[in-house]
Amino acid sequence: MRLRRRDFLLTTAAILGGSHIALADSISGSLPWEPDAGIPPERIKLGSWLYFTSEEARTVEALADRIIPPDPATPGGKDAGCAVYLDRQLAGPYGSQHGLYVKPPFLKGLKQQGPQTEDGPAQVYRKGLAALNRYSSQGQDGKVFAELTGERQDEILKGLESGKLQLPEADGQAFFEALLKDIQQGFFADPIYGGNRDMVAWRMIGFPGARYNYRDWVNRHNERYPLPPVGITGRPEWTPKKS
């Protein structure tokens, strides 16, 4: 007897992005078909932090606003929800390296051999954020990172980026590279994941989102596409706010 695929998947992969492992099966006679067998993405729920402590979250919000600063037309990383995005990602399969090859030994390799560290992203952030605040509060600044001026924050980030600034007990450059990638990915990903709130990033660049059909447009050269973006779950104005 075949366990219904959907039931099985829901028990094994509650969070998207994880490995969807179904049971082995023998298929013949007709295409396997069940209604509602797909696994739609789940929109993140706003509310308390799932992975970050409040101090970590405050630091990440400050970092997000330096990587993507607000300007008059488009919010910065913080208000676009990049810290929320990262929090939910770290609490999920991404944070724990789900599906990746994590067998030892962890030997130091050449750059072109790719990352060889035991720590997954969740640990990289835990250690990196703590080290960053330790550096700024115990060093010349005397304050945690989020309390520094934007100018000083940028200086520290540039130091991490170039490798000139070493953090105590953490690989500052690896931490910076993870942060840069994740914050920018959160900014541009579909808003269901918590960043790109109200599709601000897509509006900024003119990406129409999950539009699905441009057959009428493929031959319209050098014309600005006129329609606003839509996400996988539509647009905020399509969903009446609950009072």
């Binding site: 295409l31 599906g99 790719g114 579909d190 059909n213 493929v218 600005r224």
Partner: protein
């Protein structure tokens, strides 16, 4: 202890394009066929329905449809004197997983190799002399010719509904097509796809520079199509979510949209999913395959006896299964002896990114299909005189940009900071007015004595089997080729009217974190001599005649094109050999 399943005529290992084609052909012959696939069943409704398949984070960044490295991965090093380390997360390539294999999430760029590609060693030696080739280059002729494969290329293109413009119809050069291609027996089944603005502009600039641009052959439908099996595909919507994604619209040729609806209804066919073949079993003579052993998701081991074994997984897994089963002599790079793992190759990809005045150019980069684009073939294979250049090989090049998905495709001019206000403004100002082809220069990767596959001595997979070890680096020949091609490509992007062009040359050492293509080739190569090839010209094992190893694993070296068209043509070619020759008289098809 493994449990024994009822005997079948044929067992197929890996159920992607090759497995599906072989199953379709051999069930037509009346054989009882079972296919065994490591990954899950996949289909539009379950895995990539149009309601949510346009999710860049899920499918592109988090690799939803791909193999997970914890299932199995590879180790990698550049040189034989280094320690290979495991690929812990995918980078340079992305192995597929599940029914349909890479056919689910490819771009559907459906090329044929050049006639000279199949007789490469002979051709280059005759034209330039043996001394022109690097001494450690191990290129070979294939043992099969373009003329022999032509009917099989044709069958695949008609199966897929490939959209394109013929350049050579039975020897007559056709306006608007690729004049360098080998003669084709009839036109493409569908007209070429219409081209968006930047792709059209590239074609115009190339023409003005004296080249002969043509639309890239595409497995995305330019119109509704019913294939010879009666399976129907819908017209492509240019949604810009093609490679890495399944098509929610039944517009991209895949086993699911071309073969499976017919195949699965046949009473003499079964597929087992989520089941991994762990070895090919030999009978006591060691010269006949008895079947295969596989493990299912509960950890249960099963033995599937069969008269014919077809190995049709991803190239590098074909080589691994042969080595783990002890079939064929492992290749030794020091002596050059042995065949299994020999002539491992990849691709030499680079790009040039063009930035245009955003008050004059609006490209709407999000309007694209997977194999959209205008290309030129003047610098592929031996289409130009290599004499003055000091290298061999080449590739097609083109504006083949398949998307404007913002995580991947928000280019900024070189010199822009990677973050902060200046970066943000540059992203905003360039998104609609830049050209980022991605794989703009699609170069060949020829084979070398010290680029090969073997079993890793340290790292193991989840079944405690050794991982495959890749020893691979770029050689000067490929780097010279790439520098020359990238410069020619950048000239065309410049001629489109770009205000700035950033050249992104491919540079050594080979880097496992930088994506090129998933076109890993070789390891179980075909040829005419059992000392230098693992399978004969019919993809039949020299050592075990009821075993056929079909796929890009058979390429003696990789040409400057996407491999799927040639992989599928080889599958039809091998299937025809089994149907027309082997079944009448099972045994060795070629006596060496």
């Amino acid at each position: 202890m493994s449990r024994k399943l009822p005997h079948k005529d044929v067992v197929i290992v890996g159920f992607g394009w090759v497995g599906s084609i072989m199953a379709q052909e051999l069930t037509d012959e009346g054989l009882e066929v079972i296919a065994i696939e490591r990954g899950p069943w996949r289909d539009t409704a379950t895995d990539y329905p149009p309601t949510y398949d346009q999710d860049e984070l899920r499918y592109r960044i988090r690799h939803e449809l791909f193999l997970r490295p914890d299932q199995t991965t590879f180790t990698f090093r550049n040189k034989m004197n280094q320690t290979a380390l495991p690929i812990r997360t995918w980078g340079a390539f992305m192995p597929p997983n599940g029914v349909g294999g890479g056919g689910v999430h490819w771009n559907a760029e459906t090329w044929r190799f050049l006639p000279s590609d199949f007789v490469l060693k002979t051709h280059l030696t005759e034209r330039y002399g043996a001394d022109f080739l690097p001494s450690d280059m191990t290129i070979q002729d294939w043992g099969v010719t373009y003329e022999e494969l032509e009917p099989h290329y044709d069958r695949f293109e008609y199966l897929c509904g490939t959209s394109g413009t013929a350049g050579n119809l039975q020897g007559q050069i056709q306006e608007g097509g690729n004049p360098f291609e080998g003669p084709r027996s009839r036109p493409y089944p569908n007209p070429a796809q219409p081209q968006p603005f930047s792709h059209t502009l590239f074609g115009k600039a190339a023409r003005e520079l004296g080249y002969k641009p043509f639309p890239q052959p595409s497995g995305n439908m330019s119109q509704a199509y019913t294939n010879p099996l009666g399976v129907r595909l819908g017209p492509c919507t240019y949604c810009g979510f093609c490679e890495w994604f399944g098509c929610g619209n039944y517009s991209k040729a895949s086993p699911q949209t071309t073969i499976l609806p017919v195949l699965i209804r046949k009473s003499n066919f079964t597929v087992r999913d989520n089941s991994e073949v762990v070895r090919i079993n030999l009978d006591p003579s060691g010269k006949t395959a008895a079947g295969v052993t596989f493990v299912d998701t509960s950890g249960e081991e099963w033995e599937q006896p069969a008269d014919i074994v077809i190995v049709s997984a991803y190239a590098i897994f074909n080589a691994q299964l042969m080595l783990l089963s002890g079939i064929g002599k492992p290749y030794d790079p020091l002596t050059g002896e042995g065949v299994m793992g020999r002539n491992f190759t990849h691709q030499t990809i680079s790009d040039a990114v063009g930035f245009f005045d955003n008050t004059k150019f609006n490209f709407n980069p999000f309007i694209a299909s997977g194999s959209i684009g205008m290309c030129i073939d003047e610098f592929n294979g031996d289409n130009f005189d290599h004499g003055p250049h000091g290298f061999v090989g080449g590739g097609y090049m083109g504006q083949v940009q398949s998307n404007g998905r913002p995580i991947e495709t928000t280019p900024v001019p070189s010199g822009t900071p990677r973050w902060g206000a200046e970066w943000k403004a540059a992203v905003r100002d360039n998104y609609l007015s830049s050209v980022k082809p991605g794989t703009g220069v699609h170069g060949s990767f020829y084979s070398y004595r010290d680029v090969y596959l073997d079993l890793d001595p340290i790292y193991k997979d989840r079944f405690n089997r050794p991982l495959m070890r890749m020893t691979i680096d770029f050689h000067d020949n490929e780097l010279k080729q790439n520098a020359f091609l990238t410069d020619r490509f950048a000239e065309i992007i410049q001629a489109m009217g770009a205000k700035k062009v950033d050249k992104e040359y491919r540079q050594g050492p080979y880097d496992i974190t930088k994506y090129q293509t998933t076109h890993l080739c070789g390891g179980v190569i075909m040829g005419t001599d059992p000392r230098t090839s693992a399978v004969n010209r019919y993809l039949q094992s020299w050592d075990v005649p009821n075993l056929f190893v079909v796929g890009a694993s058979a390429f003696p070296q990789n040409a400057g094109y996407n491999p799927t068209g040639t992989v599928a043509a080889l599958a039809y070619w091998a299937a025809a050999a089994i149907r027309e020759q082997y079944l009448k008289n099972p045994g060795v098809l070629i006596h060496a």
